[in-house]
């Protein structure tokens, strides 16, 4: 088998040049992105965070052509802004130039959520240990990303921080192993962990507050092509100073909660219903309220044993 070339094999200058010219082609789970940008913050963050990702070329099939660009005109000198483009069109309002890398991350999520309807797409984190996978659907602010990062730093394989991809034919979970987006206090929580962590640039004042991205582990990225059957769905909720509290969720309640967190349930129509029904049938479902890291890690350890 030929050895896969990763982004790490490129020099800083080569990364800058590829991003600036034809675009840098990366495999991101089952998708291939061509990323273009002449912004130095994009180059430095991509190099830092995506080092383990497989490097491809323009001779490979490419799913999404994305770019982060400054608009032309006087505006670029006064209070510079940037736009995200997917295949020439820009679906978002411009943001301040300092938020370039977070915007690229959100934009890449948007591409998948808008165009990958061969999967049931859930807004959730997904991790795996001992062949047992957990899906953590949750609204923003529930502590999902922090929990996801904690698990990923404690021996769990990261499939995704933001999106579960469930193949409509095989019902298997596919991995993305993209960076984990951390917000506000959770950045320090993760930095204070005993294990080594690599964070991207810390960006203040986004509408979500302060943001930084945690580099996915090399092992998670190397195993990105490995699919896994859904094993458990856990609905987490961080509750300060409370002891851990878990309950089994009624299947019907879990069904509705999964739908609520789906990007494309309505679009998929009957196929969507069938996929969620299969998922609920084949998994155990729990709600989880927690505050202590030790307690929550122990709960997941037991789940995977």
């Amino acid at each position: 088998m030929p050895i896969k070339k990763t982004l790490r094999s490129l020099s800083t200058n080569e990364i800058i040049q590829q991003l600036k010219n034809d675009g840098l082609v990366l495999a991101v789970g089952p998708f291939v992105f061509c990323i273009k940008s002449s912004l130095s913050s994009i180059a430095s963050n991509v190099q830092k965070i995506y080092g383990d990702f497989q490097l491809l070329s323009h001779d490979d099939l490419i799913d999404f052509y994305v770019a982060i660009k400054k608009p032309r005109g006087l505006r670029s000198f006064i209070k510079p802004q940037i736009n995200f483009y997917c295949n020439d069109s820009s679906p978002f309002l411009p943001l301040p130039a300092s938020q370039a890398f977070p915007l690229l991350e959100w934009g890449m999520n948007w591409c998948i959520a808008q165009h990958a309807h061969h999967y049931l797409l859930l807004h959730s984190a997904v991790l795996e240990k001992n062949g047992k996978s957990v899906i953590l659907p949750a609204q923003s602010g529930s502590g999902k990303s922090t929990l996801c990062a904690l698990l990923a730093l404690n021996g769990w394989r990261l499939l995704s921080d933001e999106m579960a991809l469930i193949d409509l034919k095989s019902n298997q979970l596919h991995a993305l192993a993209r960076p984990i987006s951390l917000k506000n206090e959770s950045i320090n929580v993760i930095l204070n962990q005993p294990c080594a962590t690599i964070l991207g640039e810390v960006v203040d004042d986004t509408t979500k507050g302060t943001i930084s991205h945690l580099k996915p582990s090399t092992a998670s990225v190397q195993q990105v092509a490995k699919t896994v059957a859904p094993f458990a769905i856990v609905f987490p909720k961080y509750q300060a100073n409370q002891p851990i509290n878990t309950k089994t969720t009624e299947k019907a309640t879990a069904f509705m909660a999964v739908i609520e967190n789906s990007f494309n349930y309505a679009i998929l129509a009957e196929a969507g219903f069938n996929a969620v029904a299969q998922l609920i049938d084949n998994t155990q479902c729990h709600t989880l309220a927690y505050s202590s890291t030790e307690e929550v890690l122990a709960f997941f350890e037991e789940l995977a044993s």
Binding site: L61, I62, D88, A113, A116, I267
Partner: protein, 387 residues
């Protein structure tokens, strides 16, 4: 400059058999930019070419087909409600364009996106329908006085109405070209043979689509009076599929088109339709159509300019096809479109008022941003879907 690969594929779908990855990447970008991915899938399917499509590309085709199917389900639900309303009011309504293709179950509806439900009503019925719609949660999209007056005095439609919860948009027309146009169409000639839809209802049935010749001519008139042709290639491909279908299902379809076109004084739109279908998409014309195109004398001084506009604009509007010719043609088409809609004595005051309102901040200048969403909004996927 790349030539448009999408146009080449539409002309001759079998060329995909020898495609390499680079070709597929380019075709995917161009087709999704032209909003024609699902249509391409439909074309490949019809030509038995699906095996030639790599799995990765097939996923994009399938995703787009899933979205189209979802749209069609939504439209069918809206139409059921609308039909009840027309029955209750005892008003005849004719569905136009995308909705009509869907309701008439025409092949071109497969894989076709559209954004609004278009309706043609008798002008005298519009006030009644507008009030009834408002009672059911639809509201006018244009709120400032200038826009309201512009639509109501000069246009062939009232300002679009949008459902406040579902977001669906209805365009209600009483004609198919602006009424301030020098060349007003006697709409009764076009709607005379409209076909009743098969809708089971106890209240009688008041919902129609245009008869084949009128449907084709309306599509052609619409396309060749349009000033902004981002979706021009899709429009031409619509005509292509309509023609294929009706040439088979109708007796002497070409002659029917010539007769109706002459009656409503729109031979020119028919001439353009056949001319560019033949030139851009290599469409073979019937003998009758060929004879018409050869003998027709267009009522314009300069066919070269019109050729320049349409041969350059019936392509993909994408960075991979950009050229100065294209930009110039787009400018010319923009002014041509405006002038066809409104005579100069009306157009200049209209544009001056618009720019004054923009400069004085009375209306939102960057209206293009209305459809954009904040990338950080966790609901971005839902918002975008509502467009």
């Amino acid at each position: 400059m790349h030539t448009s690969l999408l146009v080449k594929v539409l002309k001759s779908p079998k060329i995909i058999k020898s495609f390499n990855s680079k070709d597929w990447n380019l075709l995917l970008r161009q087709a999704s930019s032209a909003n024609m991915l699902a249509r391409l899938a439909y074309t490949f399917n019809n030509h038995g070419l699906m095996n030639a499509v790599p799995d990765k590309i097939l996923n994009h085709f399938n995703s787009d087909q899933v979205k189209v199917a979802h749209l069609h389900t939504q439209v069918n639900q809206e139409v059921q409600e609308l039909n009840q309303l027309f029955n209750k009011l005892d008003i005849k309504a004719i569905y136009l364009k995308g909705t009509a293709y869907l309701l008439a179950d025409l092949p071109l509806a497969q894989g076709r996106f559209f954004s609004d439900i278009d309706l043609l009503l008798n002008q005298s019925d519009i006030a009644k329908v507008e009030i009834a719609l408002k009672c059911q949660g639809w509201k006018s999209q244009k709120t400032d006085d200038h826009d309201q007056a512009y639509y109501r005095d000069y246009m062939h439609e009232i300002p679009p109405m949008q459902h406040i919860i579902r977001g669906t948009v209805i365009d209600i027309h009483h004609n198919i070209l602006p009424v301030c146009n020098n060349n007003i169409i006697d709409i009764s000639l076009l709607s005379a043979d409209a076909l009743k839809l098969n809708v089971n209802t106890t209240h009688g049935n008041h919902s129609y689509v245009l008869a084949p010749a009128a449907m084709f001519l309306h599509s052609a008139i619409h396309l060749f009076h349009e000033g902004e042709l981002e979706q021009g290639l899709r429009g031409l491909s619509d005509l292509d599929l309509l023609l294929s279908h009706f040439d088979e299902s109708e007796a002497n379809f070409s002659q029917q088109l010539i007769d109706l076109g002459t009656k409503i004084n729109q031979q020119q739109s028919l001439f353009y339709a056949w001319r560019y279908l033949n030139r851009i998409l290599n469409r073979e014309l019937s003998n009758t159509a060929q004879a018409f195109v050869e003998s027709y004398q267009p009522k314009i001084t300069n066919l070269t300019t019109i050729d320049f506009i349409f041969t350059n604009l019936f392509t993909v509007h994408h960075s991979t096809t950009a050229s100065w010719r294209f930009s110039l043609a787009a400018q010319l088409a923009y002014w041509r479109g405006h002038l066809l809609r409104m005579p100069l004595r009306l157009l200049i005051p209209h544009l001056l008022t618009k720019s004054w309102l923009q400069l004085s901040g009375l209306i939102k200048k960057d209206s293009v941003n209305i459809n954009k969403v904040n990338a950080l909004d966790p609901r971005f996927h839902q918002l975008d879907e509502d467009k």
